[in-house]
């Protein structure tokens, strides 16, 4: 008789034999007394890829899954190796992780925190996953991150942009490579000032939930620091599909810039509506009226079609980075090539962050020489690396957030195909988007200490 804290693997390892006479004595695993949840066997290690497969973000989830497949292939020595050749850390050699073949399980988050946690729990309890990664919204990332902390599993966040993920809801077992609302604001503000001048009046439409709040706060404070004035901020319901009644009053409000703190379907519809109202052609205060979308994604851009032409926003990464801005962003082309050859189109930023997160995890395990979450946390904290497409990057120890350059993009006027919808305007260097760990926008919450589980 024994108790495991969370998972079956914990007990399997201890090799306990049931008292029943029927029980067959159980073999002892090599790392039997590893003392952490789901310690892998000698031959294979299981990763859990938890992405939205149904619901509005299903396509983004599908792209994430493609990137994970590719990462697993490269880690196991298949394909052309992708970013393994450009990554500054050279410990990964295509023989899996610590000599174990990488296997994976997939699940559907449905972009709901409950479903995402159910799926993650099944990966931990049923499949024995040692690490969970993925997701396409901050609500899911925060919920699954807390679960992994409790279970003693490492969580490598996928696409999540809210400050809270590494702010008030940060956890010791969770890591985020993607950028956040604050960085969007800090990266966009100087470019907005340069492009549209410092004497602007902004009108914010904000999605009425956590991510919307942090994004609005970030954009507002950094544009105001540049001299802009905020005329009004209005919250819009998540379930809204027609934004006309929110956009109609904008032109007469005295504002000359509209900031759409929306993501996904909300952003596609609000932008489409705004363009329909003729805001792109309008003039206000003697200036050309402008629209800004703080967080861009390739799939949203595709959904909004021609409406994104000329609209500024920020991205974590873009597949054209290395071609246009040189080999500071090395790794980009290697990844685009192996992704493009396998799937026939360039990867999205969601795919990129997921691929990189998987590699970073594998690398950390290898450097630590152990799958023990606490060892992995130690290896990732303060880790400086390069060659993964974003230039020199730091995984900061204080909040487990990556610090790297932020890409400012603009919707193309005449895109050549549906995968090349944005052009890179400028890259804001990492120094300008770095903030103190105790910055007010990230206040509250504590990292706690790493939890190895069972």
């Amino acid at each position: 008789m024994s108790n495991s804290k969370f998972s079956r693997r914990g007990v399997l390892k201890t090799g306990m034999v049931a008292s029943a006479g029927l029980a067959v004595p159980q073999y002892l695993r090599a790392d039997a007394h590893a003392g952490f949840t789901n310690a892998p066997s000698d031959s294979e290690v299981i990763l859990g890829f938890n992405v939205p497969q149904t619901g509005p973000y299903a396509d983004e989830g599908a792209d994430e899954l493609r990137a994970y497949e590719l990462a697993v292939e490269h880690l196991n020595g298949g394909g052309d190796g992708g970013m393994l050749s450009t990554f500054s850390s050279k410990v990964l050699d295509g023989t899996g992780i610590l000599g174990r073949e990488v296997k994976y399980v997939t699940g559907d988050t449905q972009t709901k925190s409950d479903a995402a946690r159910a799926s993650a729990r099944s990966m931990i309890e049923k499949d024995g996953a040692i690490m969970i990664t993925g997701g396409s919204s901050s609500g899911v990332a925060v919920a699954v991150q807390a679960l992994c902390q409790e279970a003693g599993i490492i969580f490598m966040a996928g696409l999540t942009h809210s400050n809270d993920t590494t702010g008030k809801d940060k956890r010791a077992n969770g890591f985020r490579h993607f950028f956040n609302s604050y960085m969007s604001g800090a990266a966009l503000a100087p470019i907005l000032a340069a492009q549209y001048g410092t004497d602007r009046k902004a009108y914010h439409l904000t999605a009425d939930y956590n991510w919307g709040y942090t994004t609005q706060e970030a954009i507002q404070s950094s544009t105001e620091a540049m001299g802009w004035e905020t005329v009004n901020t209005v919250l819009t319901p998540l379930t809204q599909t027609d934004f006309s009644s929110y956009i109609a009053p904008v032109l007469n409000s005295g504002a000359d810039v509209l900031v759409l703190n929306h993501y996904g379907g909300n952003m596609v519809n609000s932008l489409t509506n705004a363009v329909q109202f003729g805001l792109r052609q309008a003039e206000a205060n003697g200036k050309q009226f402008e629209i800004v979308v703080p967080l861009y994604s390739e799939l949203m851009a595709r959904g909004a079609g021609q409406n994104i032409a000329g609209i500024l926003g920020s991205q974590n990464w873009d597949w054209k980075l290395e071609n246009q801005l040189g080999d500071r962003y090395s790794g980009t082309n290697a990844f685009v090539r192996s992704f493009g050859e396998k799937f026939g189109f360039p990867p999205s930023q969601a795919a990129h962050t997921c691929y990189v997160q998987t590699l970073l995890y594998a690398d950390a395990v290898t450097r630590a020489g152990s799958f023990n979450p606490c060892a992995v946390v130690e290896a990732l904290e303060g880790f400086e690396f390069d060659g993964l497409g974003n230039g020199p990057t730091l995984y900061r120890a204080e909040d487990h957030q990556c610090f790297k350059d932020v890409v400012v993009v603009r919707g193309k006027e005449n895109p050549e195909n549906e995968f090349d919808l944005v052009e890179i305007v400028e890259v804001t260097p990492v120094a300008q988007v770095t903030y103190a760990p105790d910055h007010p926008q990230f206040a509250g919450g504590a990292l706690g200490s790493c939890n190895p589980g069972a």
Partner: protein, 343 residues
């Protein structure tokens, strides 16, 4: 003042969408008594008729352009739509540009056929079954339709713009002496509004002034007696289902430029359309239309910034709040008939 006029205009437009969707639903739900959870799916299918037509019009063949390269460094393959080959680039682009209005013509026969198929193949067998069974079967059908669309079109919204001629907005305010830009209204929404009025008018006229409509109205009131009189009411109900599907589909076609179609847009509208129909009162067509406009206008008022500042969150709940108030003050909604779905 101008704020209110602006929001009334907005509300009329939102309301015309709600009214159109509710009109189709109430033909099936309020009068045939079938709880049709697949109605949202019909609306979505309509929008995807527009998407499909614009895909068909942009159907293209690949031409290799040696002067340019794609992202992997291979020679770029450029898509050339067939309509360019046939009608020349200018005329071809104009046809592609007008895909959404053209889709109306295509949508009517397609949606009527889908409606027929649904009624004959499935719903017919559920007229006498409990509402619970109707919910389960139509919900299942809605999921199946959705997933089929998702399989072919993906989950991402698909941009389906209105013709270029309708981009921009009309400045009403100037005509009435307000400041410029105080009361503006996009041209496409004007089109939508008049389109909705036309469809609603046509359906009413059809039911009011034709023999067919008279028989159907009689059949709704007392199906058995009409049957005894030797009139084939079943066939007429099938046709009603076809009309309802067409109305839902047309609402969807015209809505495509306002909200880029995606496979679950029907589910987003489903709950709302049930609320509109019930607030309007079961079994009443004018009620459903009136409730659609009423809720649309109130929703617009609730999104005025000053109102949100006063009552935070009011824009989140206004529709449901109004529904509760109306149903508590008027037992059968705005114009409901006695005894319809009251048990």
């Amino acid at each position: 003042m101008d704020q209110f006029i602006l929001q009334i205009l907005n509300g009329l437009d939102k309301g015309s969408a709600y009214a159109l969707i509710a009109l189709g639903l109430t033909l099936i739900f309020g009068t045939l008594g079938v709880v049709n959870f697949a109605h949202g799916a019909l609306f979505m299918l309509g929008a995807f008729v527009a998407v499909t037509l614009s895909n068909v019009l942009t159907l293209s063949h690949k031409v290799v352009d040696e002067t340019r390269t794609d992202f992997l460094g291979n020679p770029m393959q450029v898509d050339v739509p067939y309509v360019h080959d046939w009608f020349g680039v200018t005329a071809g682009n104009a046809i592609i540009d007008w895909a959404v209005p053209l889709a109306i013509l295509v949508a009517i026969p397609i949606m009527v056929l889908i409606g027929f198929a649904m009624e004959r193949g499935l719903i017919k067998h559920f007229y006498k079954r409990p509402h619970a069974d109707q919910i389960l079967v139509t919900f299942g059908l809605a999921i199946v339709i959705q997933e089929i669309v998702k399989y072919f079109y993906g989950a991402n919204p698909i941009p389906t713009p209105a013709p270029d001629a309708f981009v921009g907005s009309f400045d009403f305010g100037v005509a009435f002496g307000f400041d410029p830009n105080a009361i503006i209204y996009p041209y496409w929404r004007l089109v939508y509004f008049f389109f909705a009025i036309t469809i609603i008018g046509a359906v009413f006229a059809f039911l009011q002034f034709t023999t067919f409509g008279m028989v159907v109205r009689a059949g709704m009131a007392d199906r058995e007696t009409v049957g005894i009189l030797g009139i084939d009411i079943d066939r007429r109900f099938t046709i009603m289902f076809g009309i309802a599907a067409a109305v839902a589909g047309l609402a969807g076609v015209m809505y495509a430029p306002i909200s880029s179609p995606n496979y679950h847009m029907g589910m987003d509208f489903l709950v709302l359309s049930f609320v509109v129909v019930v607030v309007g009162g079961m079994g009443s067509l004018p009620g459903a239309v009136a409730a659609g406009f009423l809720l649309g206008i109130l929703e617009s008022f609730a999104s005025i910034p000053a109102v949100i500042d006063l009552l935070p969150g009011i824009n989140q709940v206004i529709i449901y709040l109004v529904a509760i108030i109306i149903l508590l003050t008027r037992p059968r909604g705005l114009m409901g008939r006695k005894g319809v779905m009251e048990e």
